[in-house]
């Protein structure tokens, strides 16, 4: 994602200079190069005033309580506040329910995220050709994103019921009926629902990236008699790499939100295969078990930070050759 890249720029305090740089070689003291422009202290303070309402809210609702969460994860009891080190973490990590939930969540993400990336890229490439009714198709693919899950869950239950349409269709092929929502196949139902909802969104991201591939490079490829595969792999893919990482990141974030679908389809107590981290958290909320909640939240945020960092590292690595795009 460019965000973090621009963020790094920000940290080195030259983002503005980079984004608005004029033709290189021109070293005039133009206004668009704030490096040479004295920023008055008053303006700086004023611009901080704009941030303050949001900052107060974020600190109050996300920042400060997260500190409390860290504190709770290290003590034995919110009222007695005895420091117990990492025992909360080890208890959570040895809890079989947590481990099962974590495993299911990971398996789901590991299957759903690559599928979401590949399928949406495929759709974007197909739509990039001169297909009749392109924009209509685009709207159709995007529409599931707008439909509330709660509205659609009913029909998914009908489709994937033991006597439902999906079983009838695979019955024609000669496969035995599967009780989709009450067996280990439940993963597939949720993955299908996840893909159904997210493909359009990812596709738009890929379409934007595809259209940003410079025309002259494609023309050179055509002159050099490159076939479609070569054009894709050696030219377009280089420009897509950062978007692929971004789409993977967004899919990962969205795959953590899949609890909505599972909850609406199966209620509080789903089949074991669908027991994910949010269910675990819900149980802990119900029992007001602050220690386990805090420890689990911190473990999860740690994993999330690591995953995001890995994705950014990949992006940094692959995005190098098209740095000046």
């Amino acid at each position: 994602m460019k965000a973090l890249k621009s963020l790094n720029d920000l940290l080195s305090a030259n983002a503005r200079q980079k984004t608005t740089k004029e033709a290189p070689g021109r070293h005039t003291k133009s206004l668009s190069q704030p490096k040479y422009m004295p920023v008055r202290f008053k303006d700086m303070a004023l611009s901080f005033l704009f941030i303050i309402p949001s900052l107060i809210g974020v600190v109050l609702f996300f920042g400060a309580p997260f500190g409390v969460v860290i504190f709770y994860s290290l003590v034995n009891n919110p009222t007695r506040c005895e420091f117990v080190g990492l025992s909360n973490f080890s208890r959570v990590l040895h809890n079989s329910a947590f481990l099962m939930a974590a495993r299911h969540t990971m398996v789901f993400s590991a299957i759903a995220v690559p599928l979401a990336v590949v399928l949406s890229l495929l759709l974007a490439i197909v739509l990039e050709n001169k297909i009749p009714g392109r924009s209509a198709f685009r709207s159709m693919f995007l529409s599931p994103m707008m439909v509330p899950i709660a509205s659609i869950v009913l029909i998914w239950q009908v489709l994937f019921h033991y006597n439902g349409l999906v079983n009838q269709v695979i019955g024609i092929v000669g496969i035995d009926k599967i009780d989709w929502l009450k067996s280990d196949q439940a993963h597939f139902v949720i993955i299908a629902l996840f893909l159904w909802k997210n493909l359009g969104y990812n596709m738009i991201l890929f379409m934007a990236a595809l259209s940003s591939v410079p025309e002259d490079q494609l023309e050179v490829a055509r002159l050099e008699n490159a076939n479609a595969w070569q054009t894709f792999w050696y030219v377009k893919f280089r420009y897509l790499s950062s978007t692929i990482v971004f789409v993977a990141l967004m899919s990962l974030i969205n795959s953590f939100k899949v609890f909505r679908e599972i909850y609406l389809m199966t209620g509080d107590y789903p089949y074991d295969a669908l027991y994910i981290l949010q269910h675990y958290m819900n149980n802990k909320f119900r029992n007001l078990d602050y220690q386990d909640l805090s420890a689990a939240a911190i473990l999860m945020s740690g994993v999330m930070v690591v995953l995001v960092a890995v994705l950014f590292a990949i992006e940094e690595h692959v995005g190098k050759d098209v740095e000046n795009s």
Partner: protein, 357 residues
């Protein structure tokens, strides 16, 4: 092309019109290549070769055209299949909402009776999925809208949650994003980085702090528990900052030199320039909170306050006939928003990818 100048059998002299043998012609808008006319004497063998060469060109060209047509056909078929899959659930929900209640319970009773402990009212064991109802009736809608106030009330709950969140989150975050985009410095960079990290955290993580604060402020089980974290969510700040950064500094500086103070630069210059971005972010926030499930079930223990998104899943089998109509009613508003703002939405998603920004 080869023209015979004389009809003798020896083909002494021909005028050869030769187009360059590269692929310039394939590029749209390229100028047609100059045809070179040259006089040359050919033997019969050479002419045969030449003709074979040109035939091959023509064959290749035709083959390429065929492949192109085939590609488009296959692409259209793929798109068609996917669009059927994508639209099928929506269309089914809508058509089923026009069924009479007895038809629904005879078709789907088998499914929903298993989820309840109540009496068994269904007739058939198998599920009949029907695209077109036997009798088209609006009775479901009539009952949902006029006879059972619970659904309308929950719908109203959803509206009450979503509208203030969208409005105030935009207000707060447009201020903040202007602050972030203007005069960047080290401190702001760090704060913005923290915003991004908070934005990426899943609900499982952020709900714990939210719950603790709500408990501390004693707003648990009130609407404020949903409103306040929603209003201060960092998502819109991050997105709008991306839009604001796109405004050239020179524009803002010009406004300042003309005597505008920071506030009027914000309201009269920056905000109008970000209009498209604001609309698209409003749509994205709207979908997210219209869909919310995690927050209400954790922060609100009282069913009375739940939005329709949560309530719909708890529908019992006795009222299953209403479910489709309520689902459609719930779907209408986002679909209208989608139809109104599709272009904005696509623009917003594109910006989110950072391809343009």
């Amino acid at each position: 092309m080869i023209r015979h100048r004389d009809s003798s059998t020896e083909y002494r002299e021909c005028i050869v019109e030769r187009a360059p043998q590269n692929r310039w012609m394939d590029i749209e808008g390229a100028k047609p290549p100059k045809v070179v006319r040259e006089k040359k004497s050919y033997t019969k063998e050479e002419i045969r070769k030449e003709i074979a060469l040109y035939r091959k060109f023509i064959r290749d060209h035709k083959r390429k055209k065929r492949i192109e047509v085939l590609e488009i056909a296959i692409g259209t078929i793929i798109c068609g299949i996917f669009s059927v899959i994508f639209l099928l659930p929506i269309v089914l929900t809508v058509t089923n909402s026009f069924m009479s209640s007895s038809e629904i319970s005879s078709n789907y009773g088998a499914i929903f009776a298993t989820t309840s402990t109540g009496g068994k009212v269904f007739i058939s064991k198998t599920v009949n999925l029907k695209f077109i109802p036997d009798i088209i009736t609006l009775s479901q809608y009539y009952v949902a809208l006029f006879k059972s106030p619970a659904y309308l009330f929950k719908f109203w709950n959803s509206v009450i949650y979503v509208v203030p969140i969208v409005v105030f989150q935009l207000a707060v975050s447009s201020l903040a994003s202007y602050g972030f985009a203007r005069y960047t410095g080290r401190v702001k960079g760090v704060i913005f980085f923290l915003y991004v990290i908070i934005m990426m955290m899943p609900y499982q993580v952020t709900l714990v702090p939210n719950y603790l604060v709500s408990e501390y402020l004693d707003i648990l089980d009130t609407r404020w528990a949903i409103w306040l974290p929603g209003i201060f969510s960092p998502f819109a700040v991050y997105m709008l900052t991306k839009f604001m950064r796109r405004i050239p500094v020179s524009v803002l500086e010009a406004a300042r030199i003309d005597g505008a103070n920071e506030w009027s630069i914000f309201t009269d210059v920056a905000m109008p320039l970000c209009k498209g971005g604001i609309v698209s972010i409003a749509i994205l926030i709207f979908i997210d909170y219209w869909n919310m499930v995690e927050q209400p079930i954790i922060l609100l223990s009282d069913d009375y306050l739940h939005p329709l998104s949560v309530f719909l899943s708890k529908i019992n089998s006795g009222e299953i006939s209403l479910a489709f109509a309520v689902a459609v009613i719930y779907m209408v508003l986002p679909m209208l928003v989608f139809l109104y703002g599709e272009e904005y939405l696509i623009e917003g998603i594109t910006y989110q990818g950072g391809v343009k920004g």
